[in-house]
Symmetry: C2
Subunit: 279 residues, 2 copies
Amino acid sequence: MNIAIVGVGLIGGSVAITLKEKKAVSKIIGVDKSDTNLKKALQLGLIDEETTLEEAINRSDVIFLTIPVDAILQLLPSILDRITHQVVVDMGSTKEGILQAVANHPNRGRLVAAHPMAGTEYSGPEAAIPELFKGKMMVYVDVMHSDEDAFDTVDAITEQLEMRTAFMEAHEHDVHTAYVSHISHITSFALALTVLEKEKSQGRIFELAGSGFESTVRLAKSSPDMWTPIFKQNRDNVLEVLQEHIKQLQNIQQALSEEDYEAFHKLIKKSNKIRRILK
Amino acid sequence: MNIAIVGVGLIGGSVAITLKEKKAVSKIIGVDKSDTNLKKALQLGLIDEETTLEEAINRSDVIFLTIPVDAILQLLPSILDRITHQVVVDMGSTKEGILQAVANHPNRGRLVAAHPMAGTEYSGPEAAIPELFKGKMMVYVDVMHSDEDAFDTVDAITEQLEMRTAFMEAHEHDVHTAYVSHISHITSFALALTVLEKEKSQGRIFELAGSGFESTVRLAKSSPDMWTPIFKQNRDNVLEVLQEHIKQLQNIQQALSEEDYEAFHKLIKKSNKIRRILK
């Protein structure tokens, strides 16, 4: 089986390197709008060869789309136009808009929408690592609209990536990711901006930055080119969560402002319930 | 040299276990208002024996205060009353209020105010780990008011803990920690509350929780008993930072709400500058 990785960055590169190490595929063909990325991906041994999108479609059995979600939205219809037997895997972080755009496409059945809940704050082919996906969740979205053989092909690859699986409907997926992924990024962006604002006047501040700070702010290193389209796609859900998040911060602010430390203690204690969810 | 650890939790226990492994002290005496904690600390071998605060003061050369900052504020004057030659180390996370409270104490010189910028979201003696402090920053505060020999004694221990050191004035310290530690906790608390609010109606949400979410929310597991007093002590600085943080979130909210993705992209890109600070 030949596979094409369209977008040889963190996700695409990690799919490639993991499948390569497992010898799960015969050939990995890389496609990227950046020549620099393609050269690096070849150098790092993530891909076996590079070519154009058109050529890659013709020569592959499975085509992974691991590019920003606006690029998926733009390219997906024409990719579905060109395929015959191939399977296309949309690995984007938002689903509703993308799946609506191809809902009536005659080749819709060849598309499997899957969102690997894995990543780091780094991007590009150098960020690719084996085992990025190990033990993480692959969320399949609206699989009832995928052909059975197309799904089975992708699921066999998911197994090679050693992932767990879940199934969701597109809208449900986008709401959930707004809560457990997208809002975390916004929080980190805002925290970084807050601290950077202060740093202008207080250079020494970062001598103190400990591991707590690092952990809450690390997502602020994430790529704007990748994330802006995600927020654009998932705008309505994210705005809803963001409003709730600001409300919670204002509750904390009010307790502190009014020196109501009993209320403050209760809020922290309530937030501790997150222990039920995180190991 | 005998040392007393007043408060055998995460920080006190980690000081104890590290010094014990290095054989840097002769005896470690534990004091805690919780008998359960004392028993666990003995069981875990963090301390050699347990006793009362009074007895511990009499039998120790160095007394570490690793209890919540409200308890430090309350106990410190009477501890300074009782000491003769001993050194007292205040390891609290806020400094201005505590140091003001003992500014004119005749034994002020025996006190060394030091804040180890290290910790985890866990608490209690079971949370104590060796190497918690390794490579982290020990911030000495207002050392010009400490006797030279008292400072040298503490600094030798800091070296055993393999920490780097910085020196700050009390107000500067409290402002800086509001930015790089306290606000991170508030962000995590609010994020946990946001998501828990949603979870009431959507149980499946956490199937999706990936490592990004975990990292931004993990501080929400922190102890309310330890943190409420810190926020009480550092209220004014934290309120200032919190206001700025909410403003930054509202800027992001506005860009998204107005579908101004150019502004949104710019905000993320600006937040990326945090890379300069975090490795």
